[in-house]
């Protein structure tokens, strides 16, 4: 069943039309039978009247009727339409053919061998009956569109709360979990509405708890980690002052581990913050080119350290409606990845342009790239190309591209990966609606 409304309207109208038309036909049949009796009675009355007024020179009786009078089998009178021969000898009603027509005949015998025969064309009777009876069927047929319209209105009205509920649920955003309210709640929908609202309530509480937990854990971990980072730094400084050397690079490994954990916590907090279910985007018109330049300047020290060459090409200005924080994070994550994974002295190219009704950012690097079969997986949380033992020993949590994907979804955009235009490397294309 595709639609309850369509089902109800079609079935109700079909039942109404069928029952009305069948009733009209039945009424037609009964009326036709009654008309036939009345016409027969008329023939009998006419026969009686002619009988009383009989005169050899009497004028033509009622038009359209054939009349004959006979005595002892000899025809004494016949009207214009009557045949030369006697129409019928059989008493009472019968149907006969003459003058190229079929006739309804009434024969009555009187005293002294007299007999009267009155005939009426059957077609004339049928037409008369039809005209009378069909007139009574017209109202049935003509009123049907009105009744169908009423059915449509009534069913639509009755199903309005259901449609309203469905529309409200369909128009909700993913993070909107407030109770559904309807102006009028029919008895049949009360339980559905109550259960739906209870579900929303439970879902809302669960989401809030999960959000708070992730945020609290990350926040609580940041403080001891900072303490650990400072103590490590101080210990290393003291070692250096005391002339102690870190032969097996234990302290360096510790520092790298702490740094990786700090990054992971930062990324978890950002992922939590930028997830479409949680993020309250404050969109405004931004110049994406200017924003990219700012992000590049923020990453300048790393770029210089690795001796990368970087270029920004394309339009001078590209205005896009987006959230400042989220868009900055998107460019920063993509550029950060390009810087991190491109070997020293590599090339990075940012291209910004308008394509139809989209703003497009393309970031290409001359790094090792990603095998195309892994493109779909890299947007998964904690996924790292080559696993934890990354071949380039670049610290990372595997959350950067997941955050980028969330930000793109948040702005109803799209992201695609492809091989870069350099000898090797990755090309990331982000399209945001204008």
């Amino acid at each position: 069943m595709t639609s309850v409304r369509r089902y109800l309207i079609s079935v109700l109208i079909a039942v109404l039309v069928l029952s009305s038309f069948l009733a009209a036909l039945q009424s037609y049949r009964l009326s036709a039978e009654r008309a036939r009796e009345l016409f027969d009675q008329d023939l009998q009355l006419i026969a009686g009247a002619i009988w009383q007024q009989y005169d050899v020179n009497m004028p033509q009786p009622i038009q359209g009727l054939a009349v004959q009078l006979s005595r002892h089998g000899e025809l004494k009178y016949r009207s214009e339409l009557a045949p030369q021969a006697v129409i019928s000898w059989a008493q009472g009603y019968s149907e006969q053919n003459f003058a190229g027509k079929r006739w309804r005949v009434f024969v009555q015998s009187g005293n002294n061998g007299w007999q009267i025969m009155v005939a009426q064309p059957l077609q004339q009777r049928l037409q008369l009956a039809d005209e009378l009876i069909t007139a009574s069927i017209y109202p049935v047929v003509l009123s049907l569109p009105v009744q169908a319209l009423l059915i449509w209105l009534i069913v639509s009205r009755a199903l309005w709360p259901l449609r309203s509920l469905s529309a409200q649920l369909a128009s909700r955003k993913a993070n909107e979990l407030s109770p559904v309210t309807l102006e009028q709640v029919p008895e049949e929908l009360k339980q559905v509405l109550q259960s739906t609202n209870q579900l929303f309530e439970r879902l809302s509480a669960t989401f809030a708890r999960e959000k708070r937990f992730a945020s609290d854990v990350a926040h609580e971990l940041r403080t001891p980690l900072s303490v650990l980072e400072i103590n490590l730094h101080n210990a290393l400084t003291r070692w250096q002052q005391q002339g102690l050397s870190d032969h097996d690079e234990t302290m360096l490994a510790l520092q790298q581990g702490v740094e990786r954990m700090r990054q992971l916590i930062e990324q978890i907090m950002l992922l939590n913050r930028t997830h479409p279910d949680n993020f309250q985007a404050k969109t405004r018109l931004l110049d994406w080119v200017a924003l990219c330049r700012q992000v590049v300047s923020e990453w300048f020290s790393q770029l210089e350290q690795k001796q990368h060459s970087i270029s920004i090409e394309g339009d001078e200005h590209l205005m896009v409606k987006a959230d400042d924080f989220a868009l900055r994070l998107l460019v920063s994550n993509l550029l950060g990845n390009a810087i991190k994974y491109t070997p020293a002295g590599g090339q990075i190219r940012l291209t910004l342009h308008k394509s139809r009704n989209k703003a497009v950012l393309v970031i290409e690097d001359s790094g090792p790239g990603i095998p195309p079969q892994e493109y779909p997986q890299v947007f998964n949380r904690f996924y790292r190309v080559g696993g934890d033992r990354h071949q380039f020993a670049v610290p990372g949590a595997g959350l950067g591209l997941a955050i980028v994907k969330d930000i793109v979804s948040l702005h109803n955009g799209s992201i695609h990966l492809a091989p870069a235009g350099f000898a090797s490397g990755l090309k990331v294309t982000v399209e945001l609606p204008l």
Partner: protein, 248 residues
């Protein structure tokens, strides 16, 4: 008379509508496309043949139309057999069934409208009768559609079973026409059930449209009807079982 028009138009229209509904139910994904193509194809065929009706009637010693209808019923029967035995629900055989039924229905209604009985009482009652017949036919079709929908949801194989009486009707109609043309001998009626269900009654017209109900069938018609039903049942059952085994 109005009642004659209603009966004649309903008798022609109802078989087409019932088969159309059944074919629509067999096309779960392409209902609208199928409906549109069916209407277009049937109308085109009727319009194509309309100017040649007089000539067609005179062919084969005055049996031209009957021969055309026998051809239509045969095509319908073959297409229904294909539908019953096919693995998927083919689009073309279903369309062929509707085209053949549409041609019979269209030509008969056209003939009735242009000549014959229709010419006697053309007027308000003719149009009113046609409208009543159309209303009755469409209403029954809508209810039939929902009934088949319900059956399909409960037991999908029932839809295939519903093809059997329709196929049997094609045979009995073709045989009746062959008897009418004199190519097959006419036989005595085996029974007369018109006292229970008259062919002129609403129920009689519906049953005739569904499985070819005859109040006074003769031996040839009944044998043809039963043979089609039994043979196609066996064929359909065999194909169904083979399909189920393959799926397992």
């Amino acid at each position: 008379m109005l009642i004659n028009t209603v009966l004649l138009v309903t008798r022609e229209l109802l078989p087409l509508l019932l088969v159309l509904v059944l074919m629509l139910q067999l096309q779960p994904a392409q209902k609208s496309r199928f409906l549109l193509l069916s209407v277009l194809l049937s109308t085109a065929l009727v319009l194509l043949l309309a100017p040649w009706l007089a000539l067609l009637t005179q062919l084969a010693a005055g049996n031209g139309l009957e021969l055309l209808f026998i051809g239509c019923y045969s095509v319908s029967l073959l297409a229904l057999t294909a539908l019953l035995t096919a693995k998927a629900k083919p689009f073309m055989p279903a369309l062929l069934v509707i085209a053949a039924q549409g041609l019979i229905c269209g030509i008969n209604i056209l003939l009735y409208g242009l000549t014959g009985i229709g010419s006697v009482d053309k007027g308000d009652s003719y149009w009113l009768g046609a409208l009543l017949a159309l209303g009755i036919g469409l209403s029954i079709a809508v209810l039939w559609f929902h009934l088949l929908d319900e059956l399909k949801r409960r037991t999908p194989a029932l839809l295939l079973v519903m093809l059997l009486p329709v196929a049997a009707r094609q045979t009995s109609e073709a045989l009746a026409l062959l008897q009418q043309t004199g190519w097959l001998p006419g036989g005595q009626a085996l029974w007369d059930s018109s006292v229970v269900i008259s062919e002129q009654s609403e129920a009689g017209v519906f049953l005739q449209a569904w499985f070819g109900y005859e109040a006074t069938p003769d031996l040839i018609q009944l044998t043809g009807w039963l043979l089609t039903l039994i043979l196609l049942s066996a064929l359909g059952y065999r194909c169904y079982i083979r399909r189920v085994k393959n799926e397992l």
